[in-house]
């Protein structure tokens, strides 16, 4: 049976059914529709004002590739200029290939590229070194905790170097849904309170961050990349199987099979969560060492590095940061209850 006609232009044969609404669309109309939705998100949420210099966090993966491509298409209409910022975490065998993909993209799209390396920024610590350092502690390695925090810092630093006014990342709807599930399962009330919106407006000197692809589901991102024949790097990080997010991801896959709109329902729930004021993170100040945004005396990146440098990598992870030279933070930073920020390993 031949494919039905495109529901929008009624001329070409449909190439796919949109996962979200079941509409049959041809490739051109789908791509146009996708771009229109991203444009709408940016405009309606007032994320990128005209004249903004936007640093795109490019990892070489499908999300950041699609993001860079769409923003490049929309840049004339929005009046923004783009810079690619890639972060080299020093994960052997993975990051080198990804960076090669980013370099190819930058060359093809003629966008300026800046590469920021952990080793350069954080005193010689690469992710591989971090993994080795945390391996011996008998519990799970929690590499993703380190990598996530340090990458944000690196991205911010890279954005500053190119003189950007906004930072965008390619998180899609599935990422947001997984995040809210994960935060509930781990009891991370602080992150739940902070998340859910379209990005942070940038307080106290940090650059405003946003996620234009937030309302696009992962399937559609993949389809868009396929139809536009974009070149991206599609392997999983070496340390990914150990992450807690894997559980949330499996759950999300199952939920989506049971109800296709589950992803957007979760994003809607995340937007509307109301947490008690006591659970919200304290108003941000500045880190005493590096001057970055921090809710305590030391920002998380500095605290993690301090722990690594002292040979006690788990110093800054979990409840209470005793041992770090902080001027007594009077509030107990984590919620009361069983220590839950680290999952107890099954092995």
């Amino acid at each position: 049976m031949p494919a039905p006609r495109c529901a929008s232009c009624h001329k070409a044969r449909a190439a796919l059914r949109r996962p979200r609404s079941g509409q049959a669309l041809c490739t051109t109309c789908f791509c146009a529709s996708f771009e229109a939705e991203v444009l709408h998100t940016v405009v309606a949420g007032r994320l990128l004002p005209p004249g903004a210099v936007v640093a795109v966090g490019a990892s070489g993966g499908k999300d950041s590739t699609v993001l860079a491509h769409v923003l490049r298409e929309l840049a004339p209409r929005l009046g923004i200029s783009l810079h690619l910022v890639a972060v080299d975490e020093g994960i052997g065998g993975y990051r080198d290939a990804a960076l090669a993909a980013v370099r190819r993209q930058a060359a093809r799209w003629e966008l300026p590229l800046t590469v920021v390396a952990y080793a350069e920024l954080f005193g010689g610590w690469t992710m591989d070194a971090v993994a080795r350092s945390t391996a011996g502690s008998g519990r799970s390695r929690s590499c993703c905790t380190f990598c996530g925090v340090l990458r944000r810092r690196a991205l911010e630093e890279g954005a500053r170097r190119v003189g950007a006014t906004h930072v965008v990342t390619g998180h899609n709807a599935d990422d947001m849904a997984e995040t809210v599930l994960m935060n509930f399962l781990r009891g991370d009330a602080g992150r739940l309170a902070r998340g859910g919106g379209l990005g942070s407006p940038g307080e106290g000197g940090a650059l405003p961050r946003c996620r234009p692809l937030q309302l696009a589901s992962q399937k559609e991102v993949v389809l868009y990349a396929h139809f536009r024949r974009l070149d991206y790097f599609s392997e999983e990080c070496v340390y990914a199987p150990e992450a807690f997010r894997g559980h949330a991801r499996d759950l999300l896959k199952l939920l989506e099979a049971a109800r296709p709109s589950a992803v957007l329902d979760l994003v809607h729930s995340a937007e509307r969560l109301a947490l008690a004021p006591a659970a919200r993170p304290p108003p941000p100040g500045a880190c005493s060492r590096c001057g970055a945004l921090a809710s305590r005396a030391l920002c998380q990146a500095c605290a993690l590095l301090e722990g690594l440098n002292r040979g006690r990598p788990r110093l800054a992870i979990g409840k209470g940061r005793r041992g770090l030279d902080e001027e007594g933070s009077p509030r107990e930073p984590q919620p009361s209850g069983p220590p839950t920020s680290e999952p107890i390993p099954g092995f």
Binding site: A7, S8, C9, R18, R20, S21, G22, Q23, A24, C29, S33, A36, E37, H40, T41, A44, G45, L47, A173, L181, F184, L185, G187, A189, L192, G196, L198, L215, H247, L251, L254, L255, A257, A258, R259, P260, S261, A262, L264, D265, L266, V267, H268, S269, A270, E271, R272, L273, A274, L275, A276, A278, A279, P335, S336, G337, P338, T340, I344, G346
Partner: protein, 477 residues
Amino acid sequence: MLWQVLEGLSQDSAKRLRFVPGVVFADEGAACGQSPEDRAKTLAEAKLVLQTVGFPWHIVALEEVFSLPPSVLRCSAREPVGTEGAYKAAVDSFLQQHHVLGEEKQSRPCPQHPQGRAGPPTAGQTEALSRLFNSVKTLTAKEELLQTLRTHLILHVARTHGYSKVMTGDSCTRLAVKLMTSLALGRGAFLAWDTGFSDERHGDVVVVRPMREHTLKEVAFYNRLFAVPSVFTPAVDTKAPEKASIHRLMEAFILRLQAQFPSTVSTVYRTSEKLVKAPRDGCAAGTPGPRCLLCMCVLDVDTADSATAFGAQTSSQLPQTQPPVAEAEAPTVSCCHSGMGRAQHCCRMEADPRACDPRACVTAQLCYGCRVNMKDLVSGGPSPAREQAGAGLGLRLRSPGTSGSSLLQPSLDPLPPYILAEAQLRSQRAEAEQEIQERLLEAEDGARPGATSAEQAHEDGARPGATSAEQEGADGL
């Protein structure tokens, strides 16, 4: 929970509970597809347990939802909560009353018969109920519908018999699962009401969950050690495969994760304690907006074109060739005003307001979570034609009258009449208020004389029902 209450009320407990309890048992056999013999057997077992407990008890069948009044869906005013002094005084007077009645109560046997119900449900009602549940395509929506109807029914029983609180036996584990399920269903805004200790959205009747600190394991041990009798009834999702519904999935997932990380349930529970019953900062604080028809929480939907998940889903239904029309200026209660300019009064053109898409009228009065469930009701899987007809867009090009007669149009008939009646009443009231608002504005600046006369012409037409609703609205204002 019953056993605990029994113990708490007994003469020799250290801290006696001070309330007068009754027990409600809801028979849902028809929804679960049980045969009449099975239902009778379950009922007999349940009666045995209830008689052992000794409190006044009521057995209601789910079929009775078809005879509920629409007032169930209205939030009645609560009696003003007193201060500490008033509480003590109330307890004292209660104790005195109890003393006086104490001897009498001992001699009188507890009422054995169910109160206020006239016999078992009729076959017609049972059939209507099975038709309703069979018309729901997904198990998720079935479970949600069952919960909603059960809540309404118990609420009604509580109200008619003068109970001010309803206690449910949800344990910690079940509440953790319920929280995650509600998240996945889009009810993130209402988590505090769905899983908190007390739930006062119905106004005069408060739902409390005293067992929320006990895990299922503890409850099982308690029942076994103290030989608490229990009755097993198959539920709507018994023997369903694990992936059949979101509820099943979540339950299986959480229990599996709990085996690996033993703190999962307690973590989720602690997080739920941090939720507050307020709209998120940044949303319009002030007078709370309209309430959802089914779950009675304040509506949590925004304008259809906003940069939120809700906006993404409603605007995505537009075909590419049409410019994105501003779908709704505000979360309107009546479908007639969504997306239409003032000149296109779709409902006003019809003589009878019911000719406009009833499904859209109901949908517009629901919160996000209930809307997603409603999509599964009758319509089945997503399909563009039905979605466009049913999503309340009442598209710009054709009048809704035709969509009502199309064969693809899913009907709301299986729904119990009280829901439909209340939906209609609310939409009529909103229309009436809207009319009055307009008239007030126009009286001030005298603009648009053409529209005014057109409205008056329609109003003078054959719409007796609407006129009286309007009168009501006027008196209210």
